[in-house]
Symmetry: none
Subunit: 397 residues, 2 copies
């Protein structure tokens, strides 16, 4: 079948076929894979999946009428996607999430969060557990709180105070499920009758981090757990950046409570701005390394947040309108740095791995992985052992 | 004698008569009394004092040709000044300061800080004790540190750290002599071989606060103590605001380390901006009331300072030029900018002109021209020759 014969608008009621196809795609492509977002958006999930599982011939797209750059992008993406097609088990994944009391929500479902509709590259589906009707409450009034996994007592206290004041004012609260600031924000927010959500970087079949299991059980009793990844997905490092993107996308503004100078929270802030959402940062003692990242954000124009009221005014400024949302599409072909980071993260911590194993784990094309491996080797981060590669321990690892 | 018969330019070598008259004025008028600044600037200290002690008849100023608004201002100022004329004991005050190893420095003295010449309403003299040759070192590279009188341990530590790093980088340090942040900044700065100055809100014959006497004795051994007030002046509350203005005027930028929400430091920041100087603030814990004022300043655009290096870059930004200094006229002298430009434009390019010739050429009132001339003179754009004025060539002319 050629892709253009049948397109399914994502805003009409989704069919079972669409839902299954979207679920399959969530196994094959990362949720911020711009080529996948574009293809699924244009063709609809089912025709896109049909095309992919039929061999993904670029000539079959749009009567083969693809412009040369698009053809190159699709050809490269195909190399990422095809090695994973055999791993897709959408029926089993849907059964799995339903047995856990959850669902796979796609655009057109009544629960689909409207705020995602103005984001370029929003995921084409969300795996959820808990009170999924709360999904629609996320948006204009939702505040995201994120920050360090190893915060100071000051950071924990600040998170409690700001979250509690914002929740008392009726704001929904969204965060990740990580230790530290995320945990503090979730724990506090769950004491209030507001929408509470947590976005995970892996499948919802297994709580990560495991020590927070009772917190997450509490979360799904009154709030909602969200992931772009199907069950059994590993919370790999690069997925935390995508998770942070989704946290930002599902909220009106993100407050970074504590962050070290090289924290992922700084990347998050850049994403938040690209999404046209507000960025706030909490100041702290100048001699606390956990505040250095926040001070950097403040220098770069983040709003200074010292209370829940500040956070509230950031996203609901009195007499002001919501800032224009100017979603900026991220490059289809982001440079090496991202590939290298992802390739490295896909490698086992203590043993050697073959290139094909790394390709499958990374979800990148073999050629991308080869280039990344060459650069990582030059940088001294990995070493070759015959035809295998192994991480070189660094002080930071 | 009528005021216009004899004028002495403040930029030529000051005479004993001028110094005595300026000292007398420092007893009679507060240093930021804009009417006194303008009058002394236009007439010179001695003729201005002569006019005041003769009864201060507005009709005697500029052939009695004062415009109605200026006449009203002078009449009101006269009510402030005349009751104090009998208190003026300039000879005794000069003797007093000299016995203390000090001096009364006026424009034209080699020690007069050049950085004051671009300030509107700068005082017409400075009482000093200690190493007065250090006065000229104050300016472009000088950093002011100010803040709470009752700081936290965090504020003290931050002051020490920032001051030490800035002093090691060669910056002069200026502050007040108050307990708390001022004291911490002074104490730290005195350990380094840089210009150190403290500005006082009362006479230099008696150290205030008295408990800091040994610190101030150390200050005058290697740095300089400065006051706009003659000996025996009480450090009244309103004088602390004027003192803060002078601290800002004598530095390239002011860092507020800790300040409560209603601190005088917030007023200071407004003055600093009016002077075209930089304002920085040190962030702190959100639950510390002593950081609330700093957080307010940061919201209002103050630069975020977490280190001496930050402070250094604030006043000496790499690759950046000094910000335009736009002295904003206060109170009496509103609207100067346009008048000053017009007055300057009305002056001959290469020869001197009388006030009345300039008035005719400018098409402005005599009083407007008089005020404009005072400011142009303070700004170094024109110089007096007897009762005439002449343009001072500048690189831009």
């Amino acid at each position: 079948m050629s892709a253009h014969d049948e397109t399914t608008a994502t805003t009409t009621i989704p069919t079972d076929t669409d839902r299954l196809a979207a679920a399959a795609w969530s196994r094959v492509a990362e949720p911020t894979d711009a080529a996948a977002c574009a293809l699924i958006g244009v063709l609809g999930p089912a025709p896109a999946w049909q095309w992919l599982s039929d061999g993904a011939d670029p000539a079959e797209l749009l009567h083969g009428d693809l412009a040369q750059p698009a053809r190159r992008v699709i050809t490269q993406a195909r190399e990422r996607w095809l090695p994973r097609v055999g791993d897709a088990t959408p029926e089993a994944d849907l059964d799995h999430i339903i047995r856990l009391g959850g669902a796979y929500i796609v655009p057109g479902d009544p629960e689909w969060p409207e705020i995602l509709t103005d984001c370029a590259d929003a995921p084409w589906g969300l795996w959820v557990r808990g009170q999924r009707q709360r999904l629609r409450d996320l948006g204009e009034d939702t505040l995201a709180l994120v920050g360090a996994r190893a915060p100071t007592r000051y950071g924990i206290n600040a998170t409690h105070a700001i979250t509690a004041e914002a929740a008392r004012a009726g704001h929904g609260i969204i965060s990740g499920g990580a230790y530290g600031i995320d945990t503090a924000a979730l724990r506090t927010a769950l004491a209030y009758d507001v929408a509470v959500a947590s976005v995970f970087a892996g499948g919802l079949d297994r709580w990560y981090p495991a020590h927070n299991a009772s917190l997450f059980d509490g979360l799904i009793a009154s709030g909602v757990a969200i992931s772009a990844y199907p069950p059994r997905s590993r919370p790999a490092r690069w997925r935390f950046l995508d998770r942070n993107w989704l946290i930002a996308a599902l909220s009106a503004g993100t407050v970074v409570v504590e962050a070290s100078a090289r924290s992922g929270a700084l990347n998050t802030a850049a994403h938040v701005r690209e999404l046209g959402r507000h960025v706030g940062a909490v100041p702290g003692p100048i001699d606390s390394v956990m505040s250095h990242g926040c001070h950097t954000l403040l220098r770069e124009g983040a709003q200074l947040i010292t209370s829940g009221r500040d956070a509230s005014e950031m996203i609901r400024p009195l007499g002001a309108t919501r800032p224009a949302r100017l979603p900026k599409r991220r490059g289809l072909l982001d440079g090496l740095d991202a590939h290298a980071a992802r390739t490295l993260d896909a490698m086992p911590v203590a043993s050697a791995a073959s290139v094909s194993a790394i390709v499958r784990a990374a979800g990148l094309s073999a050629s991308d992985v080869m280039v990344a491996l060459a650069h990582l080797e030059l940088a001294g981060r990995i070493a070759r052992e015959g035809s295998m590669y192994r991480r070189v321990p660094t002080p930071k690892d």
